[in-house]
């Protein structure tokens, strides 16, 4: 696995190439779940992909910068994906948990560069409630290593409103060349994901079929 460093605002992002292309096609970008990092080897589910396989460690995770004093949002992680897209060009996204939600945001925000986004089960899929809850003012001890406890705290309780998620579905379907640019492979579906799965332009294929669709 080779790693390069990208810059997203003040964050240095570790972008890993898990496997060079074995055939034709654009890259697959893996988005890990909350508290995870990019795996060292190609996940079994992605074995069939013939383009290059990449993954970046989100802000505060893996080999990416450990920020000082928290302040996370899903939108900041969308900026992480945007930095990777800026480097790799057109990609297909497959995200675990929180990474699945971020894949949805990226599919909407960069519909021209995201050739399909696959949402799968994983840590951080649920998020917080529809409306924001009582604000929590916590003080967490940072051990100087990733994953950042503030990332785990803040990104496990961010607002996940169905109407907000559906805006990104709409941006994606309106601007993508694919008829079904989003695929929900997750078994567990919190309210925001139920709404996404039921929207026009969203498929619910198993991971292997979705990868075939987007290759």
């Amino acid at each position: 696995m080779s790693t390069i460093t990208l810059r997203h605002n003040r964050i240095e992002l570790a972008l890993h190439e898990l496997r060079p292309a074995t055939g034709a096609g654009h890259p697959l970008l893996l988005l890990h779940g909350l508290g995870e990092r990019t795996p060292a080897t190609v996940p079994i589910d992605a074995e069939s992909w013939s383009g290059a396989i990449w993954g970046h460690d989100f802000t505060g995770h893996g080999e990416s910068t450990l920020p000082v004093g928290g302040g996370y949002s899903a939108e900041v992680l969308l900026g992480d994906v945007d930095a990777a897209i800026n480097h790799l060009g057109t990609v297909t996204l497959i995200g675990r948990g929180l990474g699945g939600y971020i894949a949805l945001l990226a599919a909407g925000a960069r519909a021209d560069a995201v050739h399909g986004a696959i949402i799968t089960d994983g840590p951080g899929l649920t998020g917080g409630t529809y409306e924001s809850s009582v604000p929590q003012v916590v003080r967490l001890k940072n051990q100087g290593e990733t994953p950042d406890p503030y990332a785990l705290h803040e990104l496990s309780r961010d607002v996940r409103a169905a109407d907000y998620a559906l805006d990104f579905v709409q941006f994606s379907t309106a601007n993508s060349e694919l008829s079904e640019p989003i695929n929900v492979s997750a078994t567990y579906r919190p309210a925001w994901l139920e709404a996404v799965a039921a929207a026009p332009g969203v498929a619910s294929l198993p991971i292997s079929d979705a990868l075939d669709l987007y290759r």
Binding site: G69, V76, P135
Partner: protein, 295 residues
């Protein structure tokens, strides 16, 4: 007036700059600035409060004024930074609070999360109602949001390497006048001298260039409004009638239903969002009257 004391508080590694006016032994009044502002914008207003017997404590939010530029910014992070400052000046003790704009919204959240810190609360045009911007039909709203997301991502690509544009005091004041159209040229030029730094090639606002007005997200401004109803602390809300780019444009009829029991709402039709700068004496008198005797 230059603050009487200046020091820094460590907020989980982010250095927060604090300014104080008044006698150190007087009861604490936290004075909280809004988005893109900084504590020295209180150089006229704060001394009026301090003169009545309050120890006025104001800090620069992360990325603003003399505080550190952080890796990340969020409303909840601002809330945590505020608590670090309050723990330094008044640990676990109820204090008076005056918050302007986003500073009012932050302290409204804190009054819900940690009501024990509040003795009384004056919110100066800091009651969110809707996102600033025109009311649009659904398809245009979605387009506007998509455009905003793209602009935000492009901005973040640029800030990986960018810095603020330098200029003369007059140029920086002119730029700020776009956000503060009702404030005088003299005042805005004064703000440059306390809110910007002079480099070899000119003045630059200290505000972190990665911060950007507008933005998007799942958080709706109304969340803050709905919470008002539950506040138990004595509450004075102040709204203004003159529309400005930095204001939420919240009107009294939108807020009345959500007012805390026994809360008070004042409306000033012909004044703008920076009411404490437009009319410092009047606002100070109103706030002091509401807050009561400091001791």
């Amino acid at each position: 007036m230059t603050p009487h004391r200046h020091y820094r508080v460590d907020a989980d590694g982010v250095g927060i700059a604090v300014n104080e006016w008044g006698n150190e032994n007087d009861p604490v009044l936290a004075l909280v600035h809004g988005g893109a502002d900084f504590s020295r914008t209180f150089d006229v207003f704060a001394p009026l409060l301090a003169a009545a017997g309050w120890r006025v404590v104001a800090w620069d939010h992360r990325g603003h004024g003399d505080s550190d530029h952080a890796h990340l910014y969020s409303f909840e992070a601002d809330l945590r930074d505020a608590v670090r400052v309050l723990d330094t000046v008044a640990p676990q003790r109820p204090i008076a609070v005056v918050g302007h704009s986003k500073g009012g919204a932050i302290m409204t959240s804190l009054a819900e999360a940690q009501p024990f810190r509040f003795r009384s609360f004056v919110n100066l045009d800091g009651i969110p109602y809707r996102r600033p911007g025109p009311d649009l039909p659904e398809y245009q709203r979605a387009d506007a949001m998509n455009t905003e997301i793209t602009a935000w991502l492009e901005h973040r690509r640029r800030t990986a390497t960018g810095s603020r544009k330098p200029g003369t005091i007059e140029e920086l004041a002119r730029r700020r006048a776009q956000m503060n159209p009702r404030l005088s040229k003299e005042w805005l030029e004064y703000l440059v001298t306390v809110g910007a730094r002079e480099d070899a090639d000119g003045w630059r606002w200290k505000l972190d260039p990665s911060m950007r007005m507008g933005g998007f997200g799942p958080w709706r401004p109304e969340f803050g409004l709905f919470r008002l109803a539950g506040l138990g602390v004595p509450f004075l809300g102040v709204l203004v009638g003159a529309d400005e780019p930095m204001g939420w444009g919240t009107k009294p009829h939108q807020v009345e239903k959500w007012m805390p029991r026994h809360g008070r709402l004042e409306f000033f039709e012909d004044i703008g969002h920076f009411i404490h700068i437009e009319q410092p004496e009047m606002v100070a008198e109103m706030a002091l009257d509401f807050l009561g005797d400091p001791s």
